[in-house]
Each structure stands twice: as structure tokens, then as C-alpha cells.
């Protein structure tokens, strides 16, 4: 049986980077956007380790900023390395999607 959470997890990194590429953003906002686009299981607890990983790989960077809701928020920004990663991710994702689509449609 296909485990949807495992499949989604693999693509989550690319999606998070895409969301951050649009505007600087913070954890809760990323989760809201992911949910809006169908990652209904996304939680801050799911994405935080991924954000730690993306920061370690220098694909994103962070800054603490004042928040209207309580404590200072950690805002994430895309780095130039992150931009390159996003381009590469999109290319690979399109190739994989095309291949999977073709197999699903054409193989009888």
C-alpha cells in the first residue's frame, strides 16, 4: 500500500523552498500554505527538522523579527544556493512527473 505521508515528505523540501522563495516567511505561515495546497498533514513539528536541514545546507537563512503575536518569530529567507536548488528541483520534479504520468497513462 502506498504511504502518502512518505511520498509527500520527499517533495516537501522543494515545496518549502518554493514558498520561502516568494517572500520571507515563518514556520506557521509555511504550514498554512502547505495545508492550503493539499498537504493536510503538515504541522510545525513536521517542517521544523526540515527547516533545520535546509539551514544547515545553506539553502535558507533566518532572522528573528518582532511578531504581532507574542515572541519574536524566526523568519526564513532563500539564499542564492537555495535559488539554484529550487531550479534544479523543479527540473527534476517535472521530469519525474512526466515520466510517471506517461507510464500511468500509456502502460496497459
Amino acid at each position: 500500500m502506498v504511504d502518502p505521508s512518505q511520498m509527500m515528505r520527499g517533495t516537501l523540501e522543494g515545496c518549502i523552498i518554493k514558498i520561502i522563495s516568494k517572500n520571507e516567511t515563518y514556520g506557521y505561515d509555511i504550514v498554512s500554505k502547505l495545508k492550503e495546497y493539499g498537504f493536510t498533514d503538515a504541522k510545525e513539528g513536521t517542517i521544523y527538522p526540515l527547516l533545520v536541514r535546509l539551514e544547515r545546507k545553506n539553502l535558507i537563512t533566518a532572522k528573528y523579527k518582532e511578531s504581532p503575536l507574542g515572541p519574536k518569530r524566526k523568519h526564513y529567507y532563500l539564499t542564492s544556493l537555495g535559488e539554484d536548488y529550487l531550479d534544479e528541483f523543479l527540473k527534476i520534479w517535472r521530469d519525474v512527473r512526466n515520466s510517471v504520468d506517461r507510464i500511468m497513462e500509456e502502460v496497459r
Binding site: Y28, G45, K63, L69, G70, K74
Partner: protein
């Protein structure tokens, strides 16, 4: 500026604003992290992020525990695996810095209490203690990393090894004549040398943490500078 001290102060201050249950949960998570697994700077930043998350969740009427559910161990494991990992230089400096303290306290205390600044001891004693601390650090590095994620009795293995090495070392060497023979060294000299070692490693440690902070864009400055 002592970044770790400031971060710890900031985290202690902010942790008072979160739910007690979440505070316990964050402690459970951070207790699984130590310098043999993750550098102290990253540990404090993770703690700050979790406290921040818990504060926002409290204001939204939910909790960090609700958010993480039963996945706390998995969450902790993923953070550790995705982090920059331990810093060998930090482990080295921490070991030297903390081993200088007992020398200063015990021997400095002995000198002050006896008022006999001419006292001396076998040179083998401090050498053996350093040897013990070195072996202990290597064992910590190997065993704490290996058993840190264990849940059952295996998680106590590092403690058993600590106890055993301590017992074997002190029973065999310190209790033995090895640590009493050989050339003698003035205890006052040892105290001065260790004060010097402590001061050097203290500054080197702070410098190293500053470098770790700079390599992650110095985000801590956003937290510390404005809250003073």
C-alpha cells in the same frame, strides 16, 4: 559577549511564558542533546525555536504537545540528524576547561586552608588525571552518541561505563603507588598553570561559539541585542 550565557538567560526568561507541560516536553527533547551529539550553540537555538513555537501555540489555544503528538522521539531524532552535529573543538575545549576547575578548587583550597604554599605532590598524579579525562572523553564521544537514542535499559550504558572507568582508574592508579612516586611538583605551580589553562580555554571557547554563531548568520544578535 558570552553568547551561550546570554542565550540561556533569554531562553530561561522566555520559557516562563509557556505552558508547564510544554516546558517539560522541551526539557525532554533538549535532554537528549549534548555536546557529543550537537554543538551547544545549535542546541540553544533549537531550544529557543521550540519555546517560540510553544508561546505562539499557547496564544492560538493549542500546545506543542498537541502539535507533536506521539512523534516526540522521532521529532528529536530528526532534529539531531539534520543539525550541524557536534563540534570536536568544543568537546576538546570543554573537557580541558572543566578539568581545570577541580584542580583549581581542590589544590587551591588545600593551599589556602593549610597556608603552606610550599606543598608538593607527585608529577604523575596530574598526568594520570589528564589521561583519565582524555580516555573518558573518547568513551563519552563513542558511547553517548551510540546509546543516546535508546529508550530501554541500554540508555544507562554510558552511565555504567562512566562509573566503571572512574572506579578502575582511581582504584588502580590513584590508590596505587604510581601516583605517589616520581619527581615532585609544587602544588602552587599546578594551581597557577590550571588558572592559566582555564583562562585560555574560556576565551578560546567563547571565540569558537562566536564563530559558530557567525557561520549561521549571527541570528542570535536579533534576540540578544534588543532584549538587553
Amino acid at each position: 559577549m558570552n553568547i551561550i550565557k546570554e542565550l540561556k538567560k533569554e531562553n530561561n526568561k522566555e520559557s516562563r511564558k509557556i505552558m508547564l507541560d510544554d516546558l517539560g516536553l522541551i526539557r525532554n527533547i533538549t535532554d537528549k542533546m549534548n555536546i557529543y551529539i550537537m554543538n551547544t550553540y545549535d542546541m540553544q537555538i533549537v531550544k529557543r525555536d521550540l519555546i517560540g513555537m510553544a508561546q505562539e501555540m499557547k496564544l492560538r489555544g493549542t500546545t506543542l504537545r498537541d502539535e507533536l503528538g506521539d512523534n516526540v522521539d522521532e521529532f528529536t531524532k530528526e532534529i539531531i540528524e539534520n543539525s550541524r552535529g557536534p563540534s570536536k573543538l568544543e568537546i576538546f575545549l570543554t573537557t580541558i576547561k572543566s578539568s581545570a576547575i577541580p584542580f583549581i578548587i581542590i589544590f587551591g583550597g588545600m593551599l589556602l586552608l593549610s597556608k603552606n604554599f610550599d606543598m608538593s605532590m607527585s608529577i604523575y598524579f596530574p598526568i594520570l588525571v589528564y589521561l583519565f579525562l582524555g580516555i573518558q572523553s573518547i568513551l563519552e564521544f563513542i558511547f553517548v552518541s551510540a546509546f543516546n537514542k535508546e529508550k530501554n535499559f541500554k540508555k544507562y550504558i554510558p552511565n555504567v561505563i562512566r562509573g566503571l572507568t572512574f572506579f578502575i582508574f582511581f582504584y588502580y592508579f590513584i590508590g596505587n603507588k604510581i601516583a605517589r612516586g616520581g619527581p615532585e611538583v609544587k602544588i602552587a605551580c599546578l594551581v597557577i598553570i590550571h588558572l592559566f589553562i582555564y583562562a585560555i580555554t574560556y576565551f578560546a571557547y567563547n571565540k569558537h561559539i562566536e564563530n559558530l554563531a557567525k557561520s549561521s548568520d549571527d541570528i542570535v544578535k536579533d534576540l540578544i541585542d534588543k532584549t538587553k
